[in-house]
Point group: C2
Chain length 278, copies 2
């Protein structure tokens, strides 16, 4: 496994990979969810490139950029074991040199949910993903369903700007008790960690109702809200029952849809979602 930090080294080593290339962009502090993306890429592509970059432009001024967890040696060991060919670990100065002033913005899809409560977040995401696509030149790029709106926004950007990249969205990996794997779970104290299963339990309640025939989107949202209200350590930020692609809020569920939510456990913000229908 080769590790490169400059763009010229990346381009040179990328040229040495023959056949299709799968790409797994990450912010590091890797867990099994990330590794499942690498495994999907390994299965589908001749070569696999991963990136580790905590992208400052997708964090808001009051968010957790400075404290975002990092462990590069552990990350590299996991990627090597998973069979990654090339890892791109640029510095902030490489990605955003003095004079940087170009942004990629998806408009409508970013106005709601995460985009509404984290203004500027998706502008940072799409800009860095566009840069990573241009730097790496992958045939396929792998994203997790846990960040469902991110996946939808990246799909839209890729299609709108004609990037020659296929976006593959892989299932959310969960801890045995149902908590979606996330680098941010490390922020939770043990009490919060136990209570954090509320996201999975709330979504499961809504999913059960859907499976039993409930199609009213407001009813499904209410089931999530009610479940979270019963957990004293959790504070619901939003719950949504939206179309899977447009992310527009639904009145009733007919096609492929998504129930998604954000919850504060103390200062730690967690998100999760279930895909239903379709």
């Amino acid at each position: 496994m080769k590790i490169v930090t400059t763009l010229s080294d990346l381009r040179a080593d990328r040229q040495l990979l023959s056949g299709s290339v799968g790409f797994v962009p990450t912010m590091g502090f890797l867990h099994s969810g990330h590794i499942s993306l690498v495994e999907a890429a390994k299965n589908e592509c001749a070569g696999v490139v991963a990136s580790i970059f905590v992208n400052p432009t997708q964090f808001g001024p009051n968010e957790d950029l400075a404290n975002y967890p990092r462990d590069l040696p552990h990350d590299l060991a996991l990627l090597e074991t998973a069979g990654v060919d090339l890892v791109w670990t640029p510095t902030v100065e490489v990605m955003y040199p003095t004079g940087f002033q170009t942004w990629v913005q998806v408009e409508k899809l970013t106005q709601r949910l995460e985009g509404e409560v984290r203004p500027g977040h998706f502008r940072g995401v799409t800009t860095v993903v566009a840069k990573l696509f241009n730097a790496v030149g992958p045939d396929r790029a792998y994203f997790g369903q846990k960040d469902a709106q991110q996946a939808a926004v990246v799909r839209r950007m890729t299609r709108d700007l004609d990037f020659p990249v296929e976006i593959v969205v892989c299932p959310t990996l969960r801890e045995p008790d149902g908590l979606a794997m996330s680098s941010r779970n490390t922020y939770l104290n043990s009490e919060q960690r136990r209570a954090a299963t509320i996201l999975f339990r709330a979504l499961s309640a809504a999913k059960s109702a859907y499976d039993s025939g409930e199609r009213g989107a407001e009813k499904l949202r209410e089931l999530v809200s009610a479940a979270v209200a019963a957990e004293p350590l959790a504070k619901l930020q939003y719950v949504s029952c939206s179309d899977y692609d447009s992310l527009e809020e639904l009145v009733s569920v007919s096609g492929k849809a998504m129930i998604s939510m954000a919850v504060f456990m103390g200062k730690t913000r967690l998100i999760d979602n279930f895909v239903i229908g379709g």
Copy 2:
């Protein structure tokens, strides 16, 4: 020469080109200036792709989109004669399908000069150029110095977003009387056409002063303004003496700089520039 209108045909025929590929993006109604870009690409690359697309998103609501001159058969004949391998002529529906909502924006460089008097213009330019780069996958792309700010903005976008494309800027081609070649020259009536040499004459006056040792940017701007004021058919929109790369207005000229201007001849807006110093 192959002519393609769908993205899938473009990608398929692009794959057939081996070696380095030069790309000449145009809005059609081609003149010798465009052909000089093709010739530069032919000299430097194994294959040449051109595009013809009148990009609606770079026209303002009160600009000349509907009347922009078009002559596809003539354009294709010129490109074939010049030795282009592949021409991409997408429709507006191919480039901006329903649901399109992603924009590429260069911030600081687009605030002044053309960007100031044509709000949104450069957002349309950078978005379509990003799409064309992703669709064509060129090694080098060729732009004319006549649209100097466009060239600077595209250079900035390419660097900021890590597009693996070298931007080549070619000299402005001029009519025998000095008028910079432009598809929009066709809008001029014969009287305006004669008077339109004022841009070249005004820039030449400033250049002569520079060559004689004048380094005061305001003095150089005044020479341009005074020359235009003496031409009753011309109305100056702006004159600038700026740094070549940052486009920041100068007090005195030391390094590579640019004197640029926009003039209305009746309803027709013409731009031109001279590079000095450096």
